[in-house]
Symmetry: C2
Subunit: 150 residues, 2 copies
Amino acid sequence: MIRLTKQADYGILLMTQFARAGMGAVFSASDLASRSGLSLPMVNKTLKLLSRAGLLSSQRGVNGGYQMSRDAGAITLEEVIAAVDGPIALTECHEHGAGNDCGISSHCPTRLNWGIINDALRDSLAGITLLQMIRPFLGAKSLPARERVA
Amino acid sequence: MIRLTKQADYGILLMTQFARAGMGAVFSASDLASRSGLSLPMVNKTLKLLSRAGLLSSQRGVNGGYQMSRDAGAITLEEVIAAVDGPIALTECHEHGAGNDCGISSHCPTRLNWGIINDALRDSLAGITLLQMIRPFLGAKSLPARERVA
DNA sequence: TCCATACAGAACCATTTCGGTTCTATTTTA
DNA sequence: TAAAATAGAACCGAAATGGTTCTGTATGGA
Ligand code: FES
Ligand code: FES
């Protein structure tokens, strides 16, 4: 169903908590678990992924925690989703990198088009920052102009 | 990874076969299996779904088969995907219809925005017809203007 | 010093979904 | 009436997902 995984959704939810608190705010995993209503293990797991991807920086030990490593306006949905779920690829053939043959590529007349559609989706998500996510697109029925698929 | 299921991909592949042959062309499941390189059972299964959704009309019995029930220019990717995989919904909360609570909705400040993003994706796919799919967007690095996310 | 706090990393498991096959009707026509 | 062809559903193994648990390491304070 072209569905985002739950964990990716959690990732965005967590990142928005940081975004709302503003640059420099530090939260521990347990802080975020209670704030978000998610289970602590899941929060831990997800924060680690976000940290590994460089979206959060971490501090161990007493009074440690996580904070945004960039401003909320400089972090996009595409990055968050890729950090948690891996690269965005509607079909297997369009994953950048490894053995990307879906098995039917020799008969598939639409591969090039899929690539373009895939890029359009990725660009669309790459055009939306956390800063924009924390405020509803007031009254909008569509994405703001500069966020349109290019 | 925001991935299309293989079966939805197969559905598009099969529909493009009809589109290339033009309105009125009739194919049996076994015809399409050999043409597409997919297994017969899988082709059967997928064609049934496309037929149930009204994109193909079927004729049983000897010399029967399937044909497009509309012109290729009037069938969109969104319809094909929805026919095979169900409605397009990036997160559970945005499925039209049944119990669409993802469990974290009370803490989720981004629900409205997701709805908009989701609609943008759906509209994007709804703007691409089979007729367009069977010819590469020649030289294009992005979708044609009228297919842009609205 | 030493312990509690908090992240890092990986293994682990149950459940669901997915990809694919098989079986049994029902319709149609030669 | 037999063969061709779709309709529908059940079925199964494999993979992905969601979620937990365990071990290790760094930090800072009592
Ligand atoms: S989907 Fe793989 S080549 Fe068409
Ligand atoms: S994802 Fe369900 S409400 Fe935000």
